[in-house]
């Protein structure tokens, strides 16, 4: 079946550094991608999304990059803060109807 995967299950960064979390997707027909942040004991929180007709989208301190050639998605967090410590999921959608396929998640740990 289709799958969304993450290259690194854990990532540890120093406070103030930039973080890059990667995601590979397998379905070239996927047309929508989302990044979620999940803090311990809480539900996933929407961070940023991007459609397949875009290569890059920026939010506040976050940037999502989409490389359709190699089916790769990344989330960049600028000036990482302790409050950014969480598990980050990517998700893809490749058909109508709103169903998403989620990756396993990467745990980001920010060292003070």
């Amino acid at each position: 079946g289709e799958s969304v995967g993450l290259h690194l299950p854990t990532l540890s960064v120093q406070e103030g550094d930039n973080s890059i979390i990667n995601c590979a997707y397998s379905n070239s027909a996927s047309d929508y991608f989302i990044w979620y942040k999940q803090e311990s004991g809480k539900g996933p929180q929407f961070i940023i999304d991007i459609r397949s007709n875009m290569d890059k989208r920026q939010g506040q301190r976050v940037t999502v990059l989409l490389n359709k050639t190699v089916k790769h998605l990344s989330l960049q967090i600028a000036a990482t803060q302790p409050g950014d410590s969480a598990v980050y999921f990517c998700a893809e959608k490749y058909n109508q109807g709103g169903k998403l396929i989620f990756g396993q998640g990467t745990e980001l740990s920010v060292k003070p």
């Binding site: 004991g41 809480k42 539900g43 929407f46 999304d49 999921f89 109807g97 990756g103």
Partner: protein, 118 residues
Amino acid sequence: DVKVTQSSRYLVKRTGEKVFLECVQDMDHENMFWYRQDPGLGLRLIYFSYDVKMKEKGDIPEGYSVSREKKERFSLILESASTNQTSMYLCASSPLSQGPSLNTDTQYFGPGTRLTVL
């Protein structure tokens, strides 16, 4: 802001009990979803609904049923709880997909219900 609420944050039930998990969203979203989340397995879709009284099986519907009598409310039912249904249950909602517009496919999640079945 979209708000999705779930009736309980923590629940402890006994094997064989009937369990109801309630989810309410306040943004008039057409789509609602129930997932379970387990370590190492990620988010797995149990059931979803596109409209009132409509339901579709997800990837792991066995042992579960759902009810959507009102647009804002989506209930997950465990007819006879078993220990392998101990998990974090997450509800989500999204508006009807409208093609290339951003944000119409985004799913918004509730805080989750951690269910323990003894």
